[in-house]
């Protein structure tokens, strides 16, 4: 509780107060009075009085002057809180490593894919950044082609990393051909955001309670979706909203997979996989409880439809929880895990991390930088915008975050998250999956037939 203020307001009053004291603008007495009013934590106050910046107080580490040099870090960030947190984290690193100069190549508002293109061109042009933020797909593509430094030896030899503190999904997310190419930053699972007011008005059991008791089954979910679907045409209210780009979740919920870990066996044409996709497609084509997920437009996407009450449930990753909590005023917003199928309490993992270019002229400083990003201190700063990937940080996150109640079901599944293995040909496998699903969700052919064709195409890619 005591540290909440510092983390809720990364560039706000708490930081400005510390800066003003250190610059001599306010007296010690005035600082202590205002720090108490802000409920700043005792360690933070002590650190500030001792002459360290709020960022360093947060980092709670020793200043290291041995590591020197300059590095360039490239990353996409969202505008607003994410950009603020990104810069704060680098400020904290700089405070601990004053002799390392970090050049910030921040791509505000860009997607992972767009920045990944930029990184690719920089590497191909001989101007690779020293470190870069990666998604698991880009880490695999670059790592498998020798553009990233394998980190296994560094992880094994550096006790500060504490690799076992990362949950297993995070440990494996950046592993390609047995080598680890990035340290995890934040990881998000998927769950159901729902309109609790609508459930109460319809007299339906509460999904969160059902999730907690293990009763949030496919049947319970479908019944709720049907009850909450009303009207027709432009005024139709849907029980559920979902999107095709994350439909892999339905494969995992159903206990299926796309590819085996051996990267040789295609599994998408097995019943566990295609029955999951069929269930998702039937929500639109048979039960009519969800709009067609292929037919959202930028102007009227699922986020807008959930927020205005057109859809009562919406499956999305945890990165939007804070936004929903802050923006939704017209109904009671709550979360639950995804419907529990044969796969148990699970979901797809979306994860980001930091990698080091294999060409970096300053590997030591680069390693210290990404190590800080993945450290408990770095994850603490980033937790205002992303769910930590360390078990210890997750516990602290749930204890201190003002959004903990909404994050709980999402955090619960993190120990059981999954992803299709990432390797050199991931992009092609992913394209086959995304293109091949259109006919399923349009109701043109069954998932069994469509996945059989997808499986043939995937096997051809694996053979090529």
């Amino acid at each position: 509780m005591s540290s909440k203020k510092l983390f809720e307001d990364p560039r706000g009053e708490a930081y400005r107060l510390g800066d003003r004291f250190q610059q001599g603008d306010i007296s010690r007495r005035c600082f202590l009075r205002r720090a108490a009013a802000l409920s700043l934590s005792a360690p933070a106050v002590s650190a500030i009085l001792a002459g360290t910046s709020p960022a360093v107080a947060l980092a709670q580490g020793k200043v290291n002057t041995d590591v020197t040099g300059g590095i360039r870090v490239i990353s996409n960030t969202g505008a607003g809180a994410e950009s603020v947190a990104w810069n704060e984290r680098i400020d904290a690193f700089q405070a601990l490593y004053p002799n390392v100069k970090v050049a910030r190549d921040e791509k505000v508002g860009e997607t992972f894919y767009k920045t990944a293109d930029t990184v690719l061109l920089q590497i191909a042009g001989g101007n690779a950044p020293d470190t870069m933020r990666v998604g698991n797909f880009s880490a695999a593509q670059l790592g498998a082609r020798g553009a990233l430094m394998p980190l296994d030896e560094l992880i094994a030899s550096d006790p500060d990393v504490n690799w076992d503190d990362f949950y297993s999904g995070a440990q494996n997310a950046f592993k390609v051909d047995g080598k680890i190419f990035a340290l995890p930053e934040n990881g998000e699972s998927y769950g159901i955001n729902y309109n609790r007011s609508a459930f109460k008005n319809a007299g339906l059991p509460d999904p969160r309670e059902q999730w907690d008791s293990g009763e949030w089954t496919y049947e319970a979910f479908l019944e709720a979706a049907k009850t909450l679907t009303k009207g027709k045409g432009i005024n139709k209210k849907f029980g559920f909203l979902h999107e095709v780009w994350n439909s892999e979740n339905w494969i995992f919920f159903n206990g299926g997979k796309v590819l085996d870990e051996d990267l040789k066996t295609v599994l998408i044409d097995q019943p566990a996989a295609y029955e999951g996709l069929q269930f998702a497609a039937d929500l639109t084509n048979i039960h009519s409880v969800a709009p067609n997920p292929l037919q959202y437009t930028a102007e009227r996407g699922p986020i807008a439809q959930f927020q205005d009450g057109t859809g009562s449930m919406y499956m999305l990753g945890g990165w939007y929880i804070a936004n929903f909590k802050n923006d939704i005023k017209n109904f009671e917003y709550m979360t639950a895990g995804a419907p529990i199928g044969p796969g148990g309490k699970t979901s797809k993992l979306e994860i980001s991390g930091y990698a080091i270019s294999s060409d970096t002229p300053n590997p030591e400083a680069s390693w210290e930088f990404i190590k800080f990003i993945a450290s408990p201190a770095g994850q603490k700063i980033w937790s205002v915008v992303g769910t930590p990937t360390r078990r210890s940080s997750l516990k602290d996150f749930i204890d201190t975050s003002p959004y903990a109640l909404w994050f709980e079901p999402f955090v619960e599944v993190l120990e059981n998250v999954q992803h299709t293995p990432f390797f050199k040909k991931s992009a092609e496998i992913n394209r086959i999956l995304s293109d091949g699903q259109a006919s399923i969700f349009l109701g043109q052919q069954s998932a069994k037939k469509a996945t059989a064709a997808m499986a043939d195409d995937m096997r051809a890619v694996l053979r090529s």
Binding site: D117, I123, R145, I234, Q295, D435, S464
Partner: protein, 292 residues
């Protein structure tokens, strides 16, 4: 003196020639070389001879993208030629304020494609879009447009009408060079408007039609932006056009060698089509012979 003039000519041409070799001819030759290699941008290329070209024969998406592009080209070129010639005929009238109307028709073709794409995403939005609103006013069923596998390509082809301004300007220039005396003579002989159009206007502007046809075929075969921005090749692979497939192979799948080979096949296809058009043009393109 003559030698000095020639030297100055080359000096002034120099920057263009240098730029041409650096940014056109040079990359062109490199892409030809890469088309015979396995190259992923990040590691050294490996010579594989005709491997990339052989791969195309069994690559399902190569044929899909080629078919999609051919269908789109037929639709969009037909629509483009029809509406730009029609627009030019209308704008060839000698009326007060006609300059304003010419400007109105020309301006949309100068809008950035990305901005136009977003406008059309609104127009063709299935629930709230203007297109479906107009259909409903006419008592017709609303359509899914870009989300309907059967309508996605035609919808993108219809969008091509937005850019007819350039074609109209070129056709106008051709129409205005048709001697008025020909129409006068035809009227004297009792020819109506349709006859005049068929026997005078069309033959006289046939060189312009030929030019616009060649250019629009070449441009249509290279369609990329619309699919990249609006549909990402979907639904499914219905709008996976050839150049989009090249882009995916190069920058998404890291198969730059294969992408280079695909690009050279596109070049050959366009070259062959252009050659065929030139060969056939003798049958319908009429070039006015000078009286000198």
């Amino acid at each position: 003196m003559r030698r000095r003039d020639t030297l100055w000519g080359y000096i002034f041409l120099g920057p263009f020639i240098l730029g041409f070799f650096m940014w056109h001819a040079g990359p062109l030759m490199m892409s030809l070389y890469h088309s015979f290699t396995e190259y992923d941008l990040l590691t050294s290329e490996k010579w594989i001879g005709l491997g990339n070209y052989q791969r195309m024969l069994s690559d399902k998406l190569f044929w899909v993208s080629l078919k999609n592009t051919a269908i789109y080209t037929m639709m969009s070129v037909g629509l483009y030629m029809f509406f730009s010639l029609g627009g030019a005929l209308l704008l060839n009238a000698n009326l007060r304020g006609i300059t304003f109307f010419r400007l109105v028709f020309y301006l949309p073709s100068q809008l950035p494609l990305v901005a136009s794409a977003f406008i059309f995403l609104w127009i063709f939005e299935p629930t709230f879009g203007v297109a479906n609103y107009l259909l409903q006013l006419l008592g017709l069923e609303p359509q899914q447009w870009l989300f309907d596998p059967n309508l996605a390509k035609p919808t993108l082809a219809i969008m091509g009408i937005w850019g007819i301004g350039t074609g109209i300007i070129i056709f106008l220039a051709g129409l205005q060079s048709v001697p008025e005396s020909l129409y006068d003579a035809a009227k004297v002989d009792g020819a109506g408007i349709l006859r005049q159009f068929w026997h005078i206007t069309l033959p006289m502007v046939s060189p312009v039609i030929f030019f616009n046809l060649i250019i629009s075929i070449i441009q249509s075969f290279q369609v990329f932006d619309l699919a990249y921005i609006m549909t990402d090749g979907g639904p499914g692979t219905e709008t996976l056009f050839y150049v989009l497939y090249i882009f995916r192979n190069g920058f998404e799948f890291f198969r730059m060698g294969y992408a280079s080979a695909l690009a050279w096949i596109l070049f050959i296809i366009i070259l062959v089509l252009t050659y065929l058009n030139f060969r056939l043009s003798g049958r319908w393109v009429h070039y006015e012979v000078s009286s000198e």
